[in-house]
Symmetry: C2
Subunit: 446 residues, 2 copies
């Protein structure tokens, strides 16, 4: 295909009219499809139903060390669950604290604790005039929501295929003591599916922040969430690398089983240095007597060990892989060579990132919505919901069945074309709303 920018104006107007006809046909189908959130689909949830039977009323609910999981106590989490999570997170069980059902909740609590009580004896952030976080962009909206909620100023750092722009990260943290953290999804990143290169991780571990209480928020959400057996991204383990660099306390690592067992009913954990753990344990002992040990035991009895979990993740991959490939195939077929968009080909995780022509993302998402396909809101992948280029759109292929996904992606590609043409024509001084006014189509944001 020729790139659209090489088309004559009349050619584009003609094409636009024809695409709008197709769009109307989609609208007439009254679709209700959703590619907004990284939710596992029903088939994936069914994979873990055996978990409902591993603890029965007839069996004991004792840990290996004899602890009765049904009663109060064990603030850190039960030993065997620490081993399982440690193996998954590639750290020692001694560096693990198991929490409740949500790693997001751990991240929130970590920031909240830093605001009220500081980090390892440092000044509580509530007493500082200015606290800043670095935010690799595009990134995860729920991360940004936490820092925004606490009034923390967010600074965009561009992502590359190797991870965040490390020149920028190094320079910023070295010179500004108000910078207290950086949000990272280091493996199969949200939304691009990029994994940080070895060099990036090594540079992270060797950061020399001006703020002693600076921490890397290493949200390793997709650590075992591969799509392929033979092509897996590998990430250098950050705790060990920080230790080797003499920077043991620099990182908080987060993970959960939300997309392994059940979202909202899994177990979540933090992994960090002994100094950080001591800091956290003191606060945690005030906040709770302990988290849900029965659910911890349920996970251990179901997965057995990390090998069992890896086998389980293969079954997830078998369901997810065709969905990712379908989306990529349709985008390639519909948009390849047109020069009106680029997208990623992740080997794991939950998202494909799409970059539309500048200024088109909101219009594309709005147009999808009007035809019954919900995408993640444009801008959501940037702090404050503000994508400076209005370009990035996150695609979440996991939830819809394949047939729905095909429909939704085809419609999405159609909306990209329509809005891209509008954008090109507008740049040429041609107003498409008047040129097509007889069709009676409303153009959002036009």
């Amino acid at each position: 295909m020729r790139p659209y920018v090489e088309f004559e104006t009349e050619e584009l107007l003609e094409l636009h009219r024809s695409l709008l006809m197709q769009y109307k046909e989609y609208q007439a189908r009254d679709l209700q499809l959703n590619m907004a959130r990284g939710k596992p689909c029903v088939d994936q949830l069914n994979l873990s139903m055996g978990m409902m039977d591993v603890l029965s009323g007839n069996c004991d609910l004792l840990c290996e060390d004899g602890t009765d999981c049904r009663n109060y106590g064990v603030l850190d989490g039960i030993k065997e669950a620490k081993v399982l999570m440690a193996d998954m997170m590639e750290v020692s069980p001694d560096n693990i604290l198991i929490y409740g059902n949500s790693s997001l909740n751990i991240m929130y609590d970590t920031i909240s604790r830093s605001v009220t009580h500081g980090v390892m004896g440092g000044t509580p952030w509530a007493q500082l005039d200015n606290v800043k976080f670095l935010c690799p962009v595009p990134g995860y909206d729920r991360h940004f929501a936490i820092t925004e909620y606490f009034g923390i100023e967010m600074i965009n750092v561009p992502m590359t295929e190797d991870g965040p722009d490390m020149d920028m990260v190094e320079s910023l943290v070295a010179n500004d003591p108000a910078i207290k953290g950086i949000w990272c999804v280091p493996k199969y990143s949200n939304p691009q599916g990029y994994s940080y290169s070895d060099k990036t991780v090594r540079r992270f571990a060797r950061l020399e922040p001006a703020a002693k209480d600076f921490r890397i928020y290493w949200d390793n959400a997709y650590t075992v969430h591969h799509l392929y057996d033979d092509e897996q991204d590998h990430l250098i383990e950050i705790l060990a690398e920080c230790k080797r660099a003499g920077n043991s306390d620099l990182v908080y690592k987060f993970a959960s089983t939300s997309k392994i067992s059940f979202p909202g009913s899994g177990i979540a954990a933090i992994a960090t240095s002994h100094n950080n753990l001591e800091d956290i344990r003191h606060q945690l002992s005030i906040q709770t007597i302990g988290h849900d040990k029965v659910n911890q035991l349920r996970h251990v009895r179901y997965f057995g060990d990390i090998h069992g979990m890896i086998e389980h993740m293969r079954r997830h991959a078998d369901i997810l892989r065709p969905k990712f490939e379908l989306v990529e195939e349709i985008l390639e077929k519909e948009l390849g060579g047109l020069g009106i968009g680029s997208w990623t080909y992740p080997k794991g995780g939950y998202f494909i990132s799409f970059d539309a022509p500048e200024g088109c993302a909101k219009a594309i998402v709005a147009r999808c919505k009007k035809a019954g396909v919900i995408m993640t809101p444009a801008g959501a992948t940037y702090p404050y919901g503000m994508d400076p280029h209005d370009s990035n759109i996150r695609i979440a292929p996991s939830y819809p069945p394949l047939s729905d996904l095909e429909l939704a992606t085809s419609l999405f590609a159609l909306c990209v074309k329509i809005e891209a043409i509008r954008s090109i024509l507008t740049a040429r001084g041609v107003s498409i709303s008047s040129a097509n006014s007889r069709n009676g189509v409303n153009f959002p944001h036009a």
Copy 2:
């Protein structure tokens, strides 16, 4: 029995020697007993084992409205769980937010949110020079630990059989805008087992605090935790009473199923006004995507409804009642009429409160410990661990089997006698450590 104070000094010395002989016999038995925490015993935990089988891999995990409990979402908690908790908490399901496994965690988060973001638009407490809480004493150590952790100044308010001294509460909150809350365990209070009288609840609902962001922290931990079928304390429902008084936003009510199903693996909830809920929901939507809905469903399927839960609590009572009665009986038999202690006779809850002669509590608890019986640390029932009279000791009869409980309580009564005599003799100028020095006994804190 004659009160000890009427005994001649020689008589007391003789008695003391004989009691010490008995004490040594206990010591020789190498006991390991624990009456420190309000933990359910194994028989109680066994009552809920059916819960492990209500969700099987073969059944659906759908709510009545079709929501799949296995996936993300439903921040408030599932409808049927809200109904169950609402019935238990005697409020409308519309006033309920279901959290995770721990009401203590909700209370911590509530204070933490008030510190960082204020209450319903009020100034965040972190920005105030002075924040104070009223603490009815004796009370629950974990409450006091939260307020202490956040640097909140705690003011003791004496408990009576009708609840806190309301003259004092009314006057303090009306005149000091720095007072932002009061910790209450209104039913079968911790540790005394008192339930607030109708008049007390009505006066609470009609408080006129100087601080608009003052809230009553109404920890109704023992709302359905009766010991007797025929003799149950009744508490006026505080949300409704506040509404009637035109004070709808005045109260946060907390409860959990920790001592109904499994401690640490139950479900917890807050009940409060719509204005407060709106405030909380905004924050909660930043903190988490949702709590464990599978466990919510498990509780609903197991208990069915509030009637099922009440029947279940009867079985708990059948186990707990003999334990409370045994402790009361031994205290009566060993200490009745001696004038060296008083204790409560709760009709529900988890504790018996014991008041030793002034200045004796620490010595009694230390002496128990030296013979292998762990009590709640003396002072724990007061803010900062400081009982100004060194008198109150919390007895937790739930965990040990009856035979252990008999031993532990007998030893406890013995220690009370020994320390009470020491105290009386000391007041008479007789030093017991020299009088008994040939026995080689060490007197803690003597």
